[in-house]
Symmetry: C2
Subunit: 135 residues, 2 copies
């Protein structure tokens, strides 16, 4: 517990997560998702149901897939990933970083104990923190 150990403690997700998250419902059109991604200047659009619970995630990658595979006239539910890898506000950022690596993804929705979306943690947020460590 002394200062040595303290200086190595990883911050928790809540300290660096983004809190203003654009999200979408699964019944919306793919083009609407693309518009929201452009407007939010983000690659990740969490998909939520009426209760605010996370049910999927759509990225610019999924939209490119629609361009190649099924056309862009479908709905969000046809292209979203349903098994979402998530994190929680109290999780240590090193655990979150390992999840990104293990699953080859670049962001994790942050959910509370009830499955509600409260933020997003991206590889860029981690990169910022990482950059600072060596300054």
């Amino acid at each position: 517990a002394g200062p040595m150990r303290e200086s190595r403690r990883a911050p928790s997700v809540r300290e660096i997560m983004q809190r203003n998250i654009t999200c979408i419902s699964e019944t919306e059109e793919i083009k609407t998702a693309a518009k929201k991604l452009m407007k939010g200047e983000t690659n990740h659009l969490p998909v939520i149901n009426k209760e605010g619970r996370l049910v999927g995630i759509v990225t610019t990658y999924d939209i490119s897939k629609a361009v190649v595979k099924m056309g862009i006239e479908n709905t969000v539910s046809s292209i979203m990933s349903r098994k979402v890898i998530t994190t929680s506000p109290g999780e240590a950022v090193d655990i979150a970083a390992m999840k990104l690596e293990k699953h080859n993804i670049s962001a994790l929705p942050v959910i509370d104990g009830e499955g509600k979306l409260i933020g997003l943690l991206s590889a860029i947020d981690l990169g910022k923190l990482f950059g600072k460590r060596w300054l």
Copy 2:
């Protein structure tokens, strides 16, 4: 110098960059770019000319933009970013991390002294390294 200082030295880009990079020429179609992005399971496709020099970058984000704005029947040159933020093999990773942060991007093409593409450094690569620091 001394061990204290040594332990804080940031690694250089060449130690963690990806070397097998899928890339594309600017005269190809947007759909071909989308296919290559899917095949490489990546978000970043550097655009090179005949001499292997980097002339732009196309991401899944640019393809989503084409979906919203100009349609997907155009060529890579109509959607690529031409002012590419890059890194070099000898650059320290903390400098690279700051470039990602400053420009709000998630990867940097790595170029040699002649502008030739030799790798790619992504925020995920940085995240991996970052995760390890706190293990």
